[in-house]
Amino acid sequence: MAVIDHNAGLSRAGANVRGPFGAVLFFVRRYPLGAVGALIMLAFVGVALCADWITTYDPLSTSARSSLAPPGDKHTLGADFMGRDMLARIVYGSRISLAVAIGATVLGCLIGMAIGLLSGFFGGWFDLLVQRLMDIMQSLPLLVMALVMAASLGPSLTNTIIAIAIPLVPNVARVIRANTLSLREMPFVEAARAVGMSETRIAVQHVLPNTLAPLIVLATAQLGSAILVESALAFLGLGVPEPHPSWGRMLSESAAEYVRTAPWLVIFPGIAISAVVFGTNLLGDAIRDILDPRQRF
């Protein structure tokens, strides 16, 4: 298999690319905001992976003495009503939030891609049926759909991922279908058909790889909304159940009381959610500009 030299491609396009990290440096220079987004994302992934080394507190251990302790020497970001260390809960909460968001995005994109490819490439009654089903699913807001799914599946980590993934499917399926429809008419597909390739092989080998660019654009955009939906579900008490620490649930209804007495309980988890979503949005914008320059808003 031939290895594509991306740096050479960029150089031909007029970019000043040198060295092993040339493409990365080029990305940083060309899309500084996207690089900031990528950095934020990397930081959160790093925190999630190295949670054990960042904080010595156990996010689940309670202590009556430090109930509602303000931020200070003992608890860097304070402690909640049950005396659980906030920094530890936010650090370990990043695992849940990222796992649910990435899991849901990947699952939703895979299902959406399969459906979009099938209905776009093969058309017919299957396409018609799927399109109506997508219409039906899109007639409910993302959060309402996820709420109903979460409630009907019951609380667990896997079910929360499914409850967020399914509402993401119609969007992905629509875009991939539209892409497949235009790809199907391309000369290279006709050529493949002319040399006697089977339809399935054309779909998998020629059409599928060409839908990856819009899929990546879509996936980064969906990642942000998956994190927001996860936190909203948890906030409403229908997300990942206790004892897993989740950013959304840390802000849950009881937190409204602490607006007055313990603002640190409200501020820090919200900053964590906003920062990670902000990072995905910045990165998503840059990726979209690179992969799909026609569509920008």
Partner: protein
């Protein structure tokens, strides 16, 4: 246009019918109905009594029978009885709609009022510090969870004024109600305004590059006339689309914001009903939301033809 309208309308009905089946089946696929929840929390189980309650609520019937009786009821305007309060579902739902509707309209007004002008400014002053600042603000609008924004607003009120703007169902006068509602409306509308701003900006940038804008400038039209009369009126179409899409997002924002601000609206009620597995409330409310979304999208589609005479609906 007529044929298109009819087809579009029939598709709408089909979608709503599909939604009704989907929601009905989804709610009943779950193990555990309201009777289980009540008996679990009571801590004792008397099978005979449990079966009796299930029979009273109609939960022992086969699912198809339950569905048909729901739809037949809907056709008669009878939404059934709420499981929790045992009052007719319509009496539970209807009084809660006006607050939510007011909140939604205020949020939409807020988002258009801020989103469109700021988007135009951002586009006209492309790549200036002002543009960058506005873009960061709009991107942060898409990143803040609206319930957290609500909590921050509450916190700011506590900090600076020492009180929390609690909504009262019997306000002293309409102005007070407007003031109390506009705070949560801003929390909901911030996200929508950010999206509208981004879209207005990109749509304006596209239009500003067109030949007729250069022509308008060449014939000496003033800068505001070019920007607002020539450019904005052509850039507004995609923005209208996003308002249709945002209507759906707005409902999601209303759910969490009504919870934060303790507003007795229909969106918060949905969450309570879902927690209690109060089927009659959940299925009727979900249908109501679906109807709102589908109708808004229909209206948005139709408004294209009015806004852009080039678009004609025909086969």
């Amino acid at each position: 246009m007529g044929a298109y309208l009819v087809r579009r309308f029939l598709l709408m009905l089909l979608t709503l019918f599909g939604m009704s089946v989907l929601i009905f089946v989804m709610l009943r696929l779950v193990p555990g109905n309201i009777v289980d929840i009540i008996f679990d929390s009571a801590g004792f189980v008397n099978p005979a009594q449990k079966a009796k309650i299930e029979r009273q609520l109609g939960l022992d019937q086969p699912i198809v029978t339950q569905y048909i009786s729901w739809i037949a009821g809907l056709a008669r305007g009878d939404l059934g009885y709420a499981f929790v309060s045992e009052k007719p579902a319509i009496e539970e739902i209807l009084p809660r709609i006006p607050v939510t509707a007011k909140l939604a309209v205020l949020a939409l007004v807020f988002s258009v009022l801020f989103g469109v002008p700021l988007g135009v400014i951002s586009a006209v002053r492309q790549n200036t510090p002002l543009d960058y600042a506005l873009r960061v603000v709009s991107l942060s609008g898409l990143s803040l969870p609206s319930f957290w924004l609500g909590l921050l607003i509450l916190m700011a009120f506590v900090h600076w004024f020492g009180w929390i703007p609690i909504y009262r169902s019997t306000p002293d006068n309409p102005w007070q109600e407007l003031a109390l509602l506009s705070i949560p409306a801003a929390a909901v509308g911030f996200r929508a305004s950010a999206l509208i701003m981004r879209l207005t900006r990109s749509s304006m940038l596209e239009v500003l590059r067109q030949d007729y804008i250069r022509t308008a400038r060449a014939k000496g039209a003033s800068e505001p006339a070019v920007n607002y009369q020539h450019a904005l009126s052509n850039a507004v179409l995609p923005v209208v689309t996003i308002i249709g899409i945002e209507a759906a997002f707005l409902i999601g924002g209303l759910i969490v914001t009504e919870t934060v601000f303790n507003i007795p609206g229909v969106a918060r009620f949905l969450v309570e009903a879902i927690r209690w597995r109060d089927y009659p409330i959940v299925q009727n409310l979900v249908m109501f939301i679906a109807i709102v979304v589908v109708v808004v999208n229909f209206i948005v589609d139709m408004s294209y033809a009015v806004l852009d005479p080039r678009i004609k609906y025909e086969e």
